[in-house]
């Protein structure tokens, strides 16, 4: 052995002693770690294991630099780099060995598919071994195997580069799932690489859609499968296929068909994000309410994997809204606010309109429609103030202007609000002429004109609003006959002219108070 090192650089014995010392330390570490019971590791090992993703960057960086230096050293101007590479390979090899130990400890945590872990482990060990081998070869005296040494070195470098890449890729797959890199890949690249670029096709016909595969599964794929798939099974649960879902995880079944309240899956996705059991964990954005409702609906109807949407007779509102938003899906022609297509809301415009003292509220969670009320401003609100709402014209669906100074001029501006479904104009200054501006309304269902100066003549304009369902005209000059005529002209319209005067005593009085 000593002859092997006789012609090496000064201090080489020291180097050898260091190398043996470090190698011994790593071996000791491995023996220590081998003694851990894999079924029930102590928390301190799991704590150390969690540093693996951190430690692993050290050998990657060091070895890549070493390889880069080896390549550059070919060129005369970078010749001197060659002297540094043995140290780098040694450092890379030792840190890779330590990272392997930490990686083993991390694997004791469980939740990863054993085959994938094993592959990654052996590749990682390979990196450490090859790096150390490269060090050894570099440290050999110049005369040893000089001819083939170059070739051996090149072979080792190539293998090391390959192993580094593969280990790193499989490590990333273990953490993030197999589709991590390709999820957002541009379609052109997909074609080049040959992976499947198809996203789930938009469901053309909701009736024939299968509840699980077309509605529930995309949600699971989007939000759950990165950690709950065949390769990475957090909590021993995979949500990739129907069999796996039914099998459940470490704590048993996660779906109780027909019993949403007993289904742990549903419980976890509806917990507040800060809760320890909440899914997705670690404070990640929780599932949308539409998504949790779809899953709840699916479980409540037996969690069947074949059932079609058409076979379920009751679709709760929240699910229907969600379905509608999936792109052109309609369970049945929806009326009112669910049928409205409106542009997304711009928060600065909304804030600007709120500055004027108006109450501007979003109608609901994920509907881009607004409820605007000027009730608080009362007399201070007039036609001119409506201008601030014009940028939001498409989004306003409920507009409450009662007891303000809005008049016919204001109604002219309101004509631009195409998505109105409810309009309060009670106790304002509008007259019959102003009603003409409402003729273009296609979605208006509720109109309140109580306490205004309109007469039967104004009703003629309202006949041109086919969507009108409820009209209130108490304390106006509208007569019962005029109201009756309007009702015959608009299908499904209810008109209330209110009490005109109440006679003395009896029961029938109230029931017979002149209300249509």
């Amino acid at each position: 052995m000593r002859s092997l090192f006789r012609n090496t650089a000064p201090g080489s014995r020291k180097t050898v002693r260091w190398a043996i010392g470090l190698a011994g330390a790593v071996v000791l570490l491995m023996i220590l770690v081998a003694g851990i019971d894999p079924q029930d590791p102590a928390d301190v090992w799991l704590f150390v294991g969690r540093f693996h993703p951190l430690l692993v960057h050290l050998p990657i960086g060091i070895l890549l630099i070493a390889l880069a230096m080896e390549v550059l050293a070919h060129f005369q101007s970078f010749d001197r780099l060659r002297g540094a590479t043995p140290f780098l390979f040694a450092a890379g090899g030792i840190s890779a060995a330590v990272a392997c130990v930490a990686g083993y400890l991390l694997s004791l945590e469980g939740g990863y598919e054993p085959d994938a872990v094993e592959l990654h482990m052996w590749l990682g060990i390979g990196v450490a071994v090859i790096a150390l081998a490269a060090t050894a070869v570099k440290l050999m005296p110049a005369t040893w195997l000089s001819v083939t040494r170059r070739k051996i070195q090149i072979a080792l470098f190539v293998i090391l580069a390959g192993l580094l890449g593969l280990t790193g890729h499989f490590g990333g797959t273990l953490t993030h799932g197999p589709t991590y890199l390709t999820q957002y890949m541009p379609t052109a690249l997909h074609m080049l690489v040959g992976t499947d670029a198809s996203r789930k096709p938009v469901i053309a016909n909701i009736d024939s859609a299968v509840v699980f595969s077309d509605l529930v599964q995309p949600i699971l794929e989007r939000r759950c499968v990165t950690c709950h798939n065949a390769t990475k099974k957090k909590g021993k649960l995979s949500l990739e296929t129907s069999e796996e879902i039914q099998k459940g995880g470490r704590e048993g079944a996660v779906i109780a068909p027909g019993e949403p309240t007993d289904s742990d899956l549903l419980r976890r996705i509806t917990l507040p994000p800060a809760h320890a059991d909440a899914m997705p964990p670690d404070g990640e954005t929780p599932l949308e309410i539409g998504e949790t409702e779809v899953i709840r609906w699916w479980i409540a109807h037996g969690a069947s994997f074949q059932m079609k949407v058409a076979e379920i007779d009751s679709v709760p509102t929240s699910v229907a809204t969600y379905l509608a938003r999936l792109g052109g899906l309609r369970e049945e022609p929806r009326t009112g606010v669910y049928a409205i297509e409106a542009p997304p809301l711009d928060s600065t415009t909304v804030a600007a309109s709120e500055q004027t003292g108006l109450e501007v509220r979003r109608l609901a969670h994920n509907v881009p429609l607004l409820h605007v009320s000027a009730v608080r401003l009362g007399d201070d609100f007039g036609d001119s103030k409506l201008d601030v709402l014009l940028p939001l014209a498409q989004n306003i669906t409920w507009l409450d202007l009662r007891r303000t100074h809005v008049s016919d001029a204001g109604l002219a501006k309101i004509a631009a609000f195409e998505n109105l479904t409810r309009l309060h104009l009670d106790h304002t200054a509008v007259t019959d002429d102003g009603l003409y501006h409402l003729v273009g309304q296609r979605r208006l269902e509720y109109l309140n004109l109580v306490g205004t100066e309109i007469t039967d003549a104004g009703l003629a304009h309202l006949a041109e609003i086919p969507s009108l369902k409820r009209l209130y005209v108490w304390r106006t000059e509208v007569t019962a006959e005029g109201a009756e005529r309007l009702r015959s002209q608009v299908l499904g319209l209810y008109v209330n002219v209110g009490a005109k005067g109440v006679a003395a005593d009896t029961v029938s009085v109230v029931a017979g108070a002149n209300i249509l």
Partner: protein, 487 residues
């Protein structure tokens, strides 16, 4: 202010231990980021989430979970437990079996109040006649002819169920969702979740009236805010003369002078708030400012000069006379002005004896006004977004008590609801032929709460408040929305 003072004044042993795990530096950083105080879990979140740009409380449910059908609620609370068997649930079998022994199969082992348990149970037949009314053909007794007149606008729920057989726990259960006192009432939850439309009147107002039988007391805790901030509690208005005492300024003080006083008091309070950071100071400041605004809004509220005579005749009251009808009229005016939750208690339905006569008086007190309220809201176009609820805390037993009365009954009772997204001319739920138990579509108090919140646009499982380490909600861990009654 001194960093350590914050520790002493907050319940921070837990906080301290939690934060010390993150290191002293993080604590210092946390206190810097939170503006100099370590606050409990809910306050900064609630404050930040619920307060709008103009410092008005917008509610924590912002935006809403669902498109709301109702914007406000008027709850006509028939305290004492009106007999469903003489109001909305017609049981011909009881008529047949009048004075016979009550079948043991029904009553054996069932919970009964101490007044009835141990007695021999005999059926008491319905004391009044029923008839079908309106296009929907619903059966309503002759005691409620006016409500029968609006039966095509309401939904009658005959399958209500509760768990508490005595008045106070039952009121607590109906108001707060739990028989254990200390939880926020429905109105407080709604204010916490939605805020109030009106800034000049309290968002939650309660009024009481009585007539028709022994008036069981109603504790003020029924409209209390529980562990929510004090400013969400209900405010009780008087039913006769002025709803609020001392609403006018003292002689010699004008509005701007009063305003100066309020501002100064507020500044002093805020100085103390900086030191002790007590949420009740925030409540006090809010209440003073509300009181100042009410000095203007309350006189306007009770100024009945703009109320046409025929409307007063519709309710049959001149207003402010302490009657249920006057309360209804005022409730409608409050609803117009944006009060979120109005609860009108009418005490006098507890007919353990003298059922026949007592009911006549009680129903006469409320029948016309209840129907008038529905019609009046309707003609103003307000019934669409106002939810009217009529009902008590429990029903009464099919077996008689003392020969001429009925005892408390929890297994079924009837209520009706109108407006705010409720179906019209509909009835939901059925009871058995004795009117003893529910056979179809039970609606538990929790389910009622869930439905009410749903109509207001809130998912009852998502309006929560963390207290004592637990996320409380109005429906606790129960409740499902009765979608069948929603239009």
């Amino acid at each position: 202010m001194d960093f350590l003072e914050h520790f002493k004044l907050r319940d921070t042993r837990r906080q301290f231990l939690v934060r010390s795990a993150q290191g002293i530096g993080t604590m210092a950083l946390a206190s810097l980021l939170r503006g100099g105080s370590l606050q409990t879990a809910n306050l900064p979140r609630a404050k930040a989430a619920g307060t709008g740009t103009d410092d008005v409380w917008r509610g924590v449910v912002n935006p809403l979970h669902y498109v709301p059908q109702a914007k406000r609620i008027i709850y006509l609370y028939m305290a004492g437990g009106p007999s469903h068997l003489e109001s909305f649930d017609y049981k011909p079998k009881l008529e047949e079996m009048h004075d016979e022994a009550m079948p043991e199969s029904l009553t054996k082992g069932e919970q009964m109040s101490t007044m009835t348990s141990g007695q021999k149970l005999k059926v008491l037949g319905p004391q009044y006649k029923f008839a079908r009314h309106g296009n929907s053909g619903e059966t309503v007794s002759e005691l409620f002819p006016n409500i029968a007149g609006v039966v095509d606008d309401i939904t009658i729920i005959r399958s209500m169920q509760t768990e508490q057989i005595n008045h106070d726990p039952a009121h607590t259960f109906m108001n707060t969702g739990s028989m254990i006192a200390g939880r926020p009432s429905m109105g407080s939850w709604l204010l916490y979740g939605l805020g109030s439309e009106s800034q000049n009147l309290p968002g939650f107002v309660v009024m009481t009236s009585e007539g028709g039988g022994q008036s069981q007391p109603i504790a003020a805790r029924q409209w209390h805010s529980g562990f929510l901030e004090g400013r969400f509690q209900g405010v009780k208005f008087h039913s006769s003369s002025s709803p609020v005492n001392y609403v006018e300024n003292p002689p010699g003080v004008d509005r701007s002078g009063q305003g100066d006083l309020i501002e100064t008091v507020r500044d002093l309070n805020m100085m103390k708030d900086d030191i002790v950071d007590d949420p009740e100071i925030a409540t006090r400041i809010a209440q003073y400012e509300m009181a100042f605004r009410m000095q203007m809004s309350v006189p306007d509220l009770v100024d009945f000069s703009d109320e046409p005579q025929y409307i007063k005749d519709l309710y049959r009251t001149e207003g402010a006379d302490g009657s249920f009808a006057a309360n209804c009229l005022l409730a409608r005016r409050m609803a117009e002005r944006g009060v979120r939750f109005i609860q009108l208690y009418h005490r006098g339905w507890d007919h353990h004896g003298n059922l026949k006569d007592g009911l006549k008086v009680a129903s006469a007190n409320v029948d016309r006004a209840s129907a008038a309220l529905v019609l009046d809201l309707k003609q103003r176009g307000m019934l669409d977004d106002t939810l009217v609820i009529w009902g008590g805390e429990f029903g009464r037993t099919p077996m008689g008590q003392g020969g001429d009365g009925r005892d408390h009954h929890i297994k079924c009772f009837s209520i009706w609801m109108a407006g705010g997204g409720i179906k019209q001319g509909f009835s939901y739920g059925k009871t058995d032929e004795f009117g003893y138990d529910v056979v179809e579509n039970p609606v538990h108090v929790h389910d009622l709460h869930a439905t009410i919140l749903h109509l207001m646009g809130i998912d009852h499982t998502r309006l929560t408040y963390r207290h004592q380490g637990r996320d409380f909600r109005l429906t606790d861990v129960h409740g499902k929305v009765a979608h069948d009654i929603v239009a």
